[in-house]
């Protein structure tokens, strides 16, 4: 049985991600230890909170150096996706630079945070197989990654932004698949099958 690791660095949605995996029959390991993470088959990097404190937390365990070297399928969720970009405007935080994009704050006419269910335009990807285009996912965020060559899912909230990123073994989604009903479950299932 494959080993699924959730990186535990004090992010708020760790339990929700763990329970979502449980509902799919997977008992994930919660850890912040580099050796456990390196030997995992799949890695999930959750995130609810604020970019600077999150970077500080993962740096304590040297994970800022470990994560970019990983070769296994890796899924960053919400803040976990923003942190694998290069930089966040949230307290001007230098991030992990797996994706070159800089994360910006929403400057829109609508309410911020962008909170609720929104539709995502999908490009073909193994991560998204069986999910129909314009599928709804649940978002809660005030910062976003712009559209780029690695965008495989885009969403509109006054501006178009990256809802899903893919580059080699690294995936990120801005929404919360663990809270996105059947579409979210399908995405997590696809990730586990990569």
């Amino acid at each position: 049985m494959s080993k699924v690791v959730i990186i535990d660095y004090g992010a708020g949605n760790v339990q929700s991600v763990r329970f979502a995996l449980e509902r799919l029959g997977v008992n994930a390991v919660l850890t912040n230890r580099a050796d456990e993470i390196r030997t995992a088959d799949k890695i999930i990097f959750p995130g609810v909170g604020e970019a600077r404190s999150a970077m500080d937390q993962i740096s304590k365990n040297n994970l800022h150096q470990v994560i970019p070297t990983l070769k296994q399928p890796f899924l960053g969720i919400c803040l976990g996706m923003q942190i694998i970009c290069s930089f966040s405007e949230e307290r001007n935080t230098k991030c992990l630079e797996i994706f070159e994009e800089k994360v910006r704050r929403f400057r829109v006419s609508g309410k911020v945070p962008h909170m609720g269910w929104n539709t995502v335009n999908l490009k073909p990807s193994l991560l998204l197989k069986g999910i129909t285009d314009n599928a709804y996912f649940y978002f809660v965020h005030s910062y976003y990654a712009p559209i780029c060559e690695h965008t495989i899912g885009s969403c509109d909230y006054d501006v178009s932004f990256s809802a899903i990123l893919e580059k080699d073994n690294f995936y990120g989604c801005q929404f919360h698949p663990e809270k996105s009903a059947q579409n979210g479950e399908k995405l997590i299932q696809n990730f586990l099958e990569l």
Partner: protein
Amino acid sequence: MLSKRIIPCLDIKDGRTVKGVNFLDLVDAGDPVEQGRIYAEQGADELVFLDITATADKRKTIVDLVTKVARNVNIPFTVGGGISSVEDAYAALQAGADKVSINSAAVRRPELLDECSANFGNQCIVLAVDAKFIKGEWIVHLVGGRKATEVRLYPWIKEAVSRGAGEILFTSMDHDGTKNGFANESLKEISMMVDVPLIASGGAGSKIHFKEVFERGQADAALAASVFHFGEISIPELKAYLEKEKINVRIN
């Protein structure tokens, strides 16, 4: 496009779902976790659980409920009904709640909103407020609507948002249980006054009330209990109706 949200509310007492008609008479309506799971399958966008159990160890009661719900439900949910400190909020969020709703405790000590939003971010802090229209003014009520205060509704909502409430859940006690529709005029006023999402509560009786609350009341979400619990309106049927009426709702 961001959709309007439909939110069933489950009042919990001693581990069971209840619904107060005008807040007072309680009727048993089942197991909260099972019911939440069914609502999620039917297409509810979010759930609210209000724990009205009076126990010495309230925090433990809430954490038990939250853990059970978080294990079984695949959509976001809010828990309230006894969050009166940062520690209570932390325990509920840590157990898997997406948001906490704070009502009386914030009226008694508004700084609680600052403290909670500083610790957890305003996106997970919902200010719940129950109010009644008395002599030309909306007056905030406490303890599930039983106790009047001196606090006026609109200034309180403004203050709460500036302190860190990230969403407002407004229940009109004059509309709650009547099934005559939501308090659309006041909701519109609130929606224009603050830049955080607004959940309307109190008065849902038929499908057209939901259309009205999104159009006239400009609410971002509508919450109801008995019309869903007793099967008077089913969520798939409500969403199909709203879609036909050009309201943006999540169907898939």
